[in-house]
Amino acid sequence: MTEAGERVLLLVGSPKGLEKSNSARLGRLLLGELEKRGWKSEAIQLHESVRSEIGLPALFEAIDRAAVVVLASPLYVDSLPAPTIRAMERIAAHRVAAADAMRLPRLVTLINCGFLEARQNDTCQAILRRFAERARFEWAGGVSIGAAGPATKRTRRALDLLAESIDLELLIPNEVESMTRKPIMPPWLYVLGGNIMWKRWAAKNGAKERLRDRPYARTDR
């Protein structure tokens, strides 16, 4: 078990912030499990960190205080949102430049995508693993969640197991991956339900008839 009062830092990569995003919700569930085991926690939204002059030094200091860093983010076009990558670029540059004095926190990543299949996060997780190596983190592992990261009973159980492995400094058990990677429904049903949802959402905005508009279509081809 880890030392009493060790600190875990949640970095949220969603533009929707610490309150409204699925990424933050998943991250906070994990933090809650760690707090039950005696961990102290703090959370930072990366979009805010890169937006201001004071944001980055505060981010660097928070990382220095942490034994474990959890990066929770949505998948944006097979990778991370641009401001999250900006934060990673700056973190890596800072940590490489000041390498001697730094501890190596463990990095755990929680990536959720809007597609059904958790495996669509794999490329992003590979990028994050590279980031961990370059920015002097100890790679503890990545957890991928599909279907926009619903906090199902199975996901909660997986996060509980993940918290246990972090607390005991163990490798993330295969059981976590098998739970989070299992699709919550058949693909055809996800497509059907998703398409109904998009149409209803557009209808609420009075845009249902314009859903397939092509505003940038060229007339010469």
């Binding site: 990028i127 590279r130 998009w198 959402w201 314009r210 508009d213 081809r221």
Partner: protein
């Protein structure tokens, strides 16, 4: 007949490495093959980050709700026959400068889902989509084959999601001599647009 207009999205950042030479080679190779090429230095373009609100799908279909240069770049992207994602190789992927433009290009596809080889993806909005070429730049060689493969995979995954008819990538080092770097880019261009 396919129009030959290419757009180089240059994702150079203040943290380096410089992408100037690789971008020049890519433009030269394409022009030698009869392509018109525009190049956009994204660090000089103010593009706000994607809000993740899906407004571009369900409120103003096909147009981002943020009224800034991101709209014009998305328009240029879908009107091109080839996109060159030129980037300092950043943990095997794209720089933040390049990614800010890519994130804002999702209005160019539909929200509707479909299955592609058993995987859920979004449907196309436009009948034609640009081919995709990734050019990653590192400071010093040799190129790490794992990172090269990672960029290739990322470009290929983007090609599926953006409906690109072909895709490919290469990684060049600033320490490479001109001939080697030029040849690597020429080969990658050939894979994407044909020789």
């Amino acid at each position: 007949m396919e129009e030959k207009n290419g757009l180089i999205l240059d994702g150079a950042t203040d943290l380096g490495p410089d992408t100037g030479r690789a971008g020049g080679f890519a433009a030269g190779v394409l022009r030698d093959r009869g392509w018109r090429v525009d190049r956009l230095a994204l660090a000089e373009v103010e593009i706000a980050p994607c809000l993740g609100c899906f407004g571009c799908w369900v409120k103003t279909p096909g147009v981002c709700v943020i009224d800034d240069a991101g709209r014009e770049v998305a328009s240029q992207m879908i009107r091109s026959a080839l996109l060159v994602f030129l980037t300092p190789l950043t943990f095997g992927g794209y720089s933040s400068e390049l990614k800010k433009a890519i994130d804002r290009a999702i209005p160019n596809i539909l929200p509707h889902f479909r299955l592609v080889r058993g995987e859920v993806h979004h449907r196309r909005r436009y009948p034609r989509a640009p081919r995709l070429l990734g050019v990653g730049v590192i400071e010093r060689g040799p190129v790490d084959p794992d990172e090269e493969e990672l960029l290739e995979t990322l470009i290929h995954r983007n090609a599926i999601n953006f409906h690109a008819p072909s895709d490919g990538s290469c990684v060049v080092a600033r320490s490479d001599d001109d001939e080697s770097a030029h040849r690597a880019i020429e080969r990658a261009v050939g894979r994407v647009i044909g020789s």
